[in-house]
């Protein structure tokens, strides 16, 4: 199983029936593929839709029904559409139960940086700052390391997305939570030892006595 699939499958396990969920671009988008059919989750697209469905069949796309990247999507029965003030009212107001976003860095206190690399990549934050500040639960879905460098760092060197700490980080190597405000190793990926995780994690990790393997 590749890294992205491991992450997406594990994040999908965090969703509960009735949850309103916002998935970011990239790995987070894949999460929808692993939600069991009997789990009634509402997916929000922040451009103004609750009830996003899969990519439409060939020839069935409509120019007025797109995701936040402008790509054609479909809508499930019971979907609703609304303007951007309502969309971010839902997000900022705590009505989104879970948001899943990609990350550039997460630090030992759970702070996320995911919107700019000064001097290099300045695309704008889009909805990320509102999502991380306002959603009930924030889950970061990302590779554990990039180009051999840990993305779990003692302290973010990149500009923060929000001062509100995230709730969970799911990587291809581990699940990390922040009980008592400190990065804590909650699970390891199949076939990955605690030592391997520690070796590629720059931030200090609290390691409980019992660290089970991810069930995906």
């Amino acid at each position: 199983m590749d890294a992205q699939t491991i992450i997406a499958r594990r994040v999908a396990k965090e969703l509960r029936s009735g949850d309103l969920v916002n998935l970011g671009i990239g790995i987070p988008t894949l999460v929808a593929n692993y939600v069991p059919a009997d789990l009634k989750v509402f997916f929000q697209s922040e451009n103004g839709l609750i009830g996003t469905g899969p990519i439409p069949e060939q020839g069935m796309a409509h120019p007025t029904l797109t995701d936040a990247g402008g790509r054609p999507i479909s809508a499930l029965p019971g979907a609703s559409t609304f303007d951007s003030a309502m969309s971010f009212g839902l997000i900022r107001g705590g009505h989104v139960d879970v948001t899943v976003l990609g990350g550039l860095q997460v630090d030992a206190e759970g702070h996320l940086a995911n919107w700019m690399i000064p001097g290099k990549m300045v695309p704008g934050m889009g909805g990320a700052m509102d999502l991380v500040t306002g959603a009930k639960r924030v889950i970061v879905a990302m590779q554990h390391a990039a180009k051999g460098k840990s993305k779990i760092v003692p302290r973010c060197s990149l500009p923060l997305t929000s001062v509100r700490p995230v709730n969970l980080v799911v990587t291809d190597m581990a699940v990390i939570g922040f009980p008592d405000g400190r990065a804590t190793l909650l699970e390891t990926a199949p076939g990955i030892g605690i030592g391997e995780v520690m070796a590629v994690t720059e931030a200090e990790l609290v390691v409980p006595d019992n660290v089970p393997e991810m069930r995906i």
Binding site: T64, T81, V122, P123, M125, G126, D130
Partner: protein, 215 residues
């Protein structure tokens, strides 16, 4: 509301004007108005739009023609030309969180001086802004945003100017239709009064100044 041709409508916009444009990645954008803005070469624009779309699409056309001097947006990462013009300092760019962006415009349209949002507290976005505590929680004061013109795209417009929108092409359009001195609208379909039921009108007719006629 006055029905006018697209040429007449765009002729009213001076170079250097502040212009809000509806749409999200080019979806729900008044393409006919943008084509005409480009044809009439209205330069030095202060553009207020969620994103820079992509080259050739939506407000992307304004960057293709280098007509934008200032941009207030939430994300421009999918338009390399806009990125280039920003990094070359040809455009003065103000990047704003999307929820803050829409609330500032809503405040401008609804007569509020601003709103208090938790978004951006303790980040780069807070720089130069007032931080205000309510019940011990810190918020940023984000002030109202208005423009001289709003270019809005609707799905249906009736003969009076009542508007409704389709699916995700609604996005910023109805909010911007309240926040500009002059509101100019294109619609997919112009229909008789009564076709849009009262409960389904999203932008009431009195908000619309000009409706672009067919053809």
């Amino acid at each position: 509301m006055k029905a006018v041709s697209v040429e007449e409508a765009v002729a009213m916009i001076p170079a250097g004007a502040s212009v809000m444009v509806g749409g999200f990645m080019g979806v729900g954008t008044p393409e006919r108005l943008l084509d005409e803005v480009t044809r009439q070469r209205k330069s030095g624009l202060s553009l207020i739009c969620n994103d820079a779309a992509t080259p050739g699409k939506g407000v992307g056309k304004l960057f293709d023609a280098a007509l934008v001097a200032r941009l207030t947006a939430t994300h421009i990462g999918l338009n390399p030309k806009a990125q280039q013009q920003m990094l070359a300092n040809q455009i003065d760019v103000d990047l704003v969180p999307q929820g803050t962006f829409v609330e500032r415009i809503r405040a401008g349209g609804c007569g509020l001086g601003g709103v208090l949002t938790p978004t951006g507290v303790g980040t780069l976005v807070a720089e130069g802004k007032r931080q205000i505590e309510v019940d011990g929680r810190p918020f940023l004061l984000e002030t109202a945003l208005r423009a001289q013109f709003a270019l809005v795209h609707a799905f249906l417009a009736d003969y009076l100017g009542n508007l409704s929108y389709a699916l995700t092409s609604r996005n910023f359009n109805p909010i911007m239709a309240m926040a500009a001195d002059t509101v100019i609208v294109t619609a997919e379909h112009i229909v008789p009064v009564g076709v849009i039921a009262p409960d389904h009108v999203v932008t009431p007719a009195p908000l619309v100044d000009y409706l672009i006629t067919n053809g």
